[in-house]
């Protein structure tokens, strides 16, 4: 059986805690086979999870006294009942002979404290070029993971958050 867990000095990486994938020797394996690597700055620590039958267009405040704002917008992974691409053929008169497609239907907006479902809306704008705008919508059977990883413009290089 391969060595899976190392606490101490790794030849590549130095002092730390390392865990390798099944079948990989943590002492010698390639970096890509490390499940846990002490050199990384942030890992997939879950700050909060949520399970909501619906979230209205006004959004959900996911912070509270037990999970206050982190001080930055975190990475939030959202799964809802309906996801995927929407491809809709023009069915209005006069026929524009056009297909409208949204490559990601499940669009969400987030802040340091809230999560809000938004829709991608097509605006052919006289067919001079499709313009894409965001409107409100509701989300159904929503599950989400708030990861303690900054995902905010202006915070990605802030040394206090990464070093």
């Amino acid at each position: 059986m391969a060595n899976r867990v190392l606490i101490g000095n790794r030849a590549t990486g130095g002092q730390g805690l390392y865990v390798s994938a099944k079948g990989q020797d943590v002492l010698t394996c390639a970096d890509k086979h490390l499940i846990l690597d002490a050199r990384t700055k942030r890992a997939g620590q879950i700050y909060r999870t949520g399970n909501q039958s619906s979230i209205s267009s006004s959004g959900l405040t996911w912070t509270d006294s037990n999970a206050p704002s982190l001080g930055f917008i975190p990475l939030i992974l959202v799964i809802e009942q309906e996801m995927g691409d929407a491809e809709i053929e023009d069915n209005v008169s006069p026929d524009l002979d056009a297909d409208w497609e949204s490559s990601q239907v499940s669009v969400w907006a987030s802040t340091e404290t809230t999560l809000r479902p938004v829709s991608s809306e097509f605006d052919p704008n006289g067919y001079s070029g499709a313009v894409y705008s965001l409107g409100g919508r509701s989300g159904t059977n929503v599950r989400f993971f708030v990861l303690r990883i900054p995902c905010q413009y202006g915070k990605m290089t802030t040394s206090s958050l990464w070093t």
Binding site: K41, Y47, D85
Partner: protein
């Protein structure tokens, strides 16, 4: 060099612990930070679960597909039907993440202990327009659900 790893008892007051009320677990601080007195946000690994200031609820984990090595699989689903992907049994009610469909909206669900299913609806309505779906190939990954103590 800073103390990076604590396994066992901790009295880090920034995590809400003290000598009279210690915590137990595995903690690893980011490079250059002392695990004995770092802030919660400076922990790279935290096995606590609880209210502030013990801020993390668990680790983000992916449930492997049944061959035990891949973390996602593709499945072809015809219109109006369901497909499934087999999983390694590490519990049930995992969150199924679906992507890859083209021209259709998939409907996903919580997983069973050994498989998860995805529905390709025969039609869907988007922006008040109803469209029919076709056969789709979806990519599925499953994320491990935490105890309901972490849900709200």
């Amino acid at each position: 060099m800073a103390n990076r790893i604590s396994i066992g008892k901790t009295t880090n007051s920034n995590l809400g612990y003290s000598s009279g009320s210690p915590g137990f677990g595995i903690y690893m601080a980011r490079s250059g930070k002392n695990v004995l007195n770092c802030s919660p946000d400076q922990l790279l690994l935290n096995t606590d679960r609880g209210s502030a200031p013990r801020i993390d609820k668990g680790m983000f984990q992916v449930v492997p597909a049944s061959n035990g090595t891949t973390t996602s699989q593709t499945v072809q689903v015809t219109s109006g039907n369901t497909g499934s992907v087999n999983l390694v049994n590490v519990g049930s009610n995992h969150v199924t993440f679906v992507t890859g469909g083209s021209g259709a909206i998939s409907q996903n669900a919580l997983s069973g202990s050994t498989s998860t299913t995805i529905t390709n609806p025969s039609s869907y309505t988007y922006n008040d327009i109803t469209a029919l779906t076709s056969t789709q190939i979806f990519r599925i990954a499953c994320f491990k659900t935490l105890s309901t103590a972490a849900l709200f």
